[in-house]
Every structure is written in C-alpha cells, then in structure tokens.
Amino acid sequence: MTELKRRTVIAGLGILAVTPVFAPAIAQKRYDDGASDTEIKIGNIMPYSGNASAYGVIGRTSEAVMKMVNDAGGLNGRKITFITYDDGYSPPKAVEMVRKLVEEDKVLLVFNPLGTPSNTAIQRYLNQRKVPQLFVATGASKWGNPRQFPWTMGWQPDYVTEGSIYAKHILATKPDAKIGVLMQNDDYGKDYFNGFKQGLGAANERRIVQLSTYEVTDPTVDSQMIQLKNSGADVFFNITTPKFAAQAIKKAAEIAWKPVHYLNNVSSSFGSVLKPAGIDNAQGIIVALYRKDASDPQWVNSPDVVAWKAFMAKYMPNSDVRDDGHNFGFSVAHTLLQTLRQAGDNLTRENVMKEAANIRAFESPLLLPGIKVNTSPTDFYPIQSVQLARVKGESFELFGSVLSSESTS
C-alpha cells in the first residue's frame, strides 16, 4: 500500500515537473470538435427543397464565401469546410440534420440555420450539447436570450426592435395619429406588434384605432383593408409577409385609402412585393432597412458592393443578382468570419461563443453606412439599428439618421 502510494506520488511529481515546460506551448492552440491546425468545420442547414426553397440561395452564398476564403489561403491558416444540408423547412428534418452535423460530421458550430420553426426545434439540443447556434436567419426576438440559451445568437434586427422604431417615428412626426394595424396572426406578427406597442408606450396605445388580423392560410386581405379604411385611421402599419403585403398595397390604392404607410422589413422587396403591387401604388411607403440594396445606383462605388459584385461574378456566375438572399448570405457569412478571426487559435466552442459576444462595431459588408454589428455577453442582438427609407421610383430613398432601439439591449 505504502509502496503504491509512494510510486503514485513520484509519478505525480514527475508529471508536475514536466507540465510547466509544455503548458505554455499547448495553451496557445486549443480545439474542440471541428477545429484543428488545418481545418475549421462549419455546419449549416437550409431549405433547399419545399415551400421555402427560395431561401436556399442564402446557404449557397455562404458556401461560396467560404470557398472564396479558402482560395485566398483560408482563415488564420486553416481551410474552412462548410457542410450544408437540406431541412426542407421542416422542423423534424432540421433536428435530424443538426444531429448529423454535430455527432457525425463533428462540426465546430452550426451557422445561420433558417426559419423560426426550425431554429426553435434545434435550440434546446444545441444548448444542451453546448454547440454554438450562431447568427440564425430569423428576426424573432427570442434569439437574444443569453441567460436561458447561452449558445444561441441572432443576427438581423429583431422584429420587436423594428416595430418600436416605427412607433417612435410616428410619435415624432404625427403625434395625433390614428393608427390602423394589419397583422399576420402568428408569432412573427405578434412579435412586431408587441414591439410597436412598446415603442408607443402605454399612454399612446390608444392611438391604435383598429387592429385587423389575417391567417396565413387566408386567400386575401381585402376585407381587412376595407375595415381599416372605415376605422378612419390615417397611419397604417403593415405587418405582412410578401404575398399579403402586395395585396394590401394594391387594395389600399383601389379603395383610395391614403394613410402614411409603414411596411415591415420582411416585405421590403421590389421583386416580390412592390412591383407586383404596382410601383405607382407603392410610392411613399416607409420601410426600415439595415442592408444596402446592391442594385441601387447610389452604392455603385461603395467598396463592399464592388467586392460583392466581383464575388458574384466569380463564385456564383449563374445566379440571379437581384435575389436578395445573395446579399444577406454574403453579409452574415462575413460576420461569422470576423468571429472566427477574433477567436484566433483558441477554437473551442466556448471561445467561439465568447468572441461572438465580443464583436465591437464591426462593419459587415452591405450593411447601411453607420449600421454596425455589436454584441456583448448580455447583448445577443448583433444588429439593432435600421434606417428608414421611402419608396421613390424604383428604389429606396433613405432619410433621417440611423435609429436604434434600446428596448432590447
């Protein structure tokens, strides 16, 4: 027994003696699954098939950005392996594919999974396994909750922030407004509406004279629009997804209702909303933007737009450049690259998460001037600023200054 102990002690001393010599060298580079001296593995899921397959270009763009980085020598000397699977916008498929990414492909992190339902389905699993769920592609406000979900982080301005910014603008420009709201009756619509009410404040909630809702399965919103007009509202907050946004804009023109029209960012697309609704009918509509419209002539000399165009020409030559998914994917991928750059050689999941929560005034390409990515250990909302713009002709005319909401910081 004594003999054994003595031997153990000697062995222990031996280890102790050796450790300090090597420890500093080892401490420089630390890795979890999916990272090594030569490689960083990033996992991603996207709806490449199914109803939401139009969003698939975002995943393809991120993939192409990583290829561009690898062609230029990689990131901190490491090649990036980008593994992306189809989840068909189906939560159970998302769960399965994310498990495959984590357990079989052993990725370092899961990047930019798309859609509120899919992200909700995988959030608990990833947080339990302590795998970063970074920069999710949804604007729901629940992604910035580091106390409950320290491994999940959003990216784009959340709907609550955006809703409150519209409200503040209304109070500043038209304090006696009578407000009508059209809202899609689900989590997304409620998120916007709650933010809007927060922005108005309890005292001004009575400014909302009419709240009309529709179900995503409804064929049209015509009757709601007539209801809103009859309520006498002179300000209109339009919380609708593209198809219904186009219907609402068109109907307002048909029934000659001319309120000050605020449209949520979700539907700020010329291709899928404003053109189908009729450009003439859409003039003057106010939207909140956080990214540049890369096809807008005013940005033609802006370095990030030039870089984006070069990237598109070289890495995605057969894609439709008017599809906004390419802008989104390019921008969000660069925020990830910045995070990994900051993490340097300490590529543990914990450190990646720490650096994701330590981004200071990073100008991700294609963000509007003055809008920067900022995070902290208590602020998991990377982009919280927008700038209001008015539809003028076939482009957006920015006005006022960059607005932020402190309500969610």
């Binding site: 399965e96 959030q123 699993y125």
Partner: protein, 349 residues
C-alpha cells in the same frame, strides 16, 4: 419412401432450432453492440439513433402488418396513430413530468382505445372504402395537432422539445446507446407478443377472417368484434412505436407525422412482406433507409454516371419500388424465402 417421411420432420426441427439459435445470437449481438463500441466513437451516436429509428419503424410496420397482412384490412392512415402515440409520450413527459418508461403503456392504451373506436364504424367499410377513411384520418391529425385550443398542450406548429434520458445505474453508455437498448428490448417484447398472438386461437381467427370472412363467421367467429379489436391492437403497436420515436428523437411536431408517414409504413409493410414477422423488420429498415438516402443516392448517381438529364429526388425510390414489387411480389421476406427454398432444392436435387 419411409425414410423420407421420417427425415422431413427431423430436418424441419433442426432447421427451426438453427433459425432460433441464430435469431437469439443475432439479438444478443445487437444488444451487446453499445457495450462493445462503448465511448470509442467507432459507431457515432447518430448511427445509434438511426438504428433505433429502424427498430421503431419495424414495430410500426409490424402493427400495420397485423391489420393488413393477417387480418386483411387496409389502412392508409397509421401515421395518425403514430402521431397520437408520439404526442401522448411528449405531453406526458413535458407537461406532467412522467417517467419515459410509463409513457409507453399510456401511449399503448390510448392508441388501442382510439384505434378500437375508429375501427368500430370503419367496419361497415370494406377494402378501398376503409383505405380512404383511414387516409382521411392521416390527413386530419396533423391539422388537429395545430388546433388553437389544443395549443397549450401541443404547442402548435412549433412542436415539443424533449430531452433524451441518460443511461441509468451508471452504465457506461450514452443516451443514444441506452435508448437503442430500450427500443431493442421493447421491440423484442412486441414481436414476441405478436408471434404468440398469431399462434393462438384468436390469431387463427384473424387469419380466417382475412381468408374468407363469410366462412369465418359461419364457424362462429364474431367477425366485427374481431376486426375492431385487431384494429385497436394494430393502433397500439404503432402508438408504442410513436412514443418511442418521440423519446429517442427528442422532438415532436405536426410536421413529423404528415400523411407521407402513413404511406411509408404501408410501403414498408408491402416491401418487407405482408403477413410475415421477419418482413416487418425488413420493412422497418426499408422505411428508415429509403427515406433518408433515396434523395442523396439519386444525386450521387446522377453525378457518378454523368447522366445528361436531371433526376428528380425520388426517382431512385420509385424505380426501386417497381423493381422490388415485380421481382419479389411477396416482399423481400417472401423473396428471400423463395430463394432459399430454390437453393435447397437445387442442392438436394
């Protein structure tokens, strides 16, 4: 001549013993798998999940097989019972903190009652009318799960997240490996019960109803009660499979149980071999395998042989199905049995 008659039963006996010991050996090996592999990571947890899913689908296919293969009733809606079982387990665990083991009998009971009640009026429907009624059920259930007033329980489209139980007694197994064992044990029990049922008097009555309903009722079998009960038992099996699915997959949502699931279970039953217990196992493997890999394999095939045309994701699935049904009309189990018999004959001859 005498030699042949005496030799044949002995040979049958030996071959049955051989099959049985092979089966037991195989099961022991399957059960030992997580212990052998341990935490070496040689087989990933994800692979264990997939194996578990195969076994779960085998239980579901067995459930449908009892109804369709052994009782002659066709159902296109067993995905609905799968969903009921899964949601029973999920709601009990999430809202009432029930131990996952206890959710299995609960799901079994609820699905039996639901299946029996659904079976009662459906008895008036024969053949393809029954198929259509069950198909309606498969389409309705996912919608019902999204129903506004059920949302506090079902959590609507968002579904319910669960946490996989850890291995008890400090066993050196991961959650996935442990649940693989649980699923395996439940499956063995369910198959054993099905075999005993089929070898019993009620089991023979079930088959008699399938073969000739009128003759069966003339012999004094209460056909309508039998049919409804078999419907209930069939739903029970599928419900247990659903509950296991919820526990190992750690997630349920209405989207998990779309009507494609019902079709997949039926396809599994037919491809594996109707009226065959081994067929149910093969069917389960087929459901899991084909669903996950048909798409990927189609893509790989297109690239590998440089096809000039773009194959649609499910092309390979369709082709496989057509070839299988033409080559092996009795399902894979039937086909293998026929092949085995032919081999023996050619050897003996």
């Amino acid at each position: 001549m005498t030699a042949i008659t005496t030799a044949a039963p002995a040979a049958a006996e030996t071959s049955r013993n051989l099959t049985r010991s092979m089966l037991i050996g195989l099961l022991l090996l399957a059960a030992a798998l997580p212990f052998i592999v341990g935490k070496s990571g040689f087989i990933s947890n994800f692979t264990f999940l997939q194996l578990s899913l195969m076994i779960v689908y085998a239980i579901a296919v067995l459930g449908l097989n009892l109804l369709t293969g052994f009782n002659g009733q066709i159902s296109l809606g067993h995905g609905a019972f799968f969903a009921v079982g899964a949601y029973t387990a999920a709601i009990l665990i999430e809202h009432y903190g029930v131990n996952y083991w206890l959710t299995l009998p609960a799901a079994a009971l609820i699905c039996f009652v639901v299946g029996y009640l659904f079976g009662l009026p459906a008895l008036r429907l024969e053949g393809h009318y029954l198929a259509l009624a069950t198909f309606g059920l498969a389409i309705a259930v996912p919608q019902m799960l999204k129903y506004k007033h059920l949302e506090p329980l079902t959590n609507g489209v968002m579904g319910i997240n669960l946490l996989k139980p850890d291995a008890p007694f400090g066993l050196p197994l991961s959650g996935d490996q442990w649940m693989y064992l649980v699923v395996l044990i439940v499956a063995v029990a369910m198959f054993w019960m099905a075999r005993n049922l089929l070898n019993s008097r009620p089991g023979r009555a079930m088959v008699a109803i399938r073969d000739h309903t009128l003759a069966a009722s003339t012999m004094g079998i209460d056909t309508s009660r039998y049919k409804a009960t078999v419907f209930g038992i069939s739903a029970l099996y599928v419900g247990v499979a659903g509950a296991l699915h919820a526990i190992i997959f750690e997630f349920v949502s209405p989207d998990s149980f779309r009507f494609e699931l019902s079709i997949a279970i039926l396809v599994g039953a037919v491809v594996g071999g109707v009226a065959s217990l081994p067929g149910a196992v093969i069917g389960g493997i087929f459901v899991q395998f084909i669903e996950k890999y048909a798409d990927a394999m189609t893509k790989k095939l297109t690239q590998a042989i440089h096809l000039p045309l773009e194959l649609q994701p499910w092309t390979l699935y369709g082709i496989t199905l057509i070839v299988l049904i033409y080559v092996m009309p009795g399902g894979i189990a039937g086909g293998l049995a026929a092949l085995w018999a032919r081999l023996r004959r050619s050897q003996g001859g």
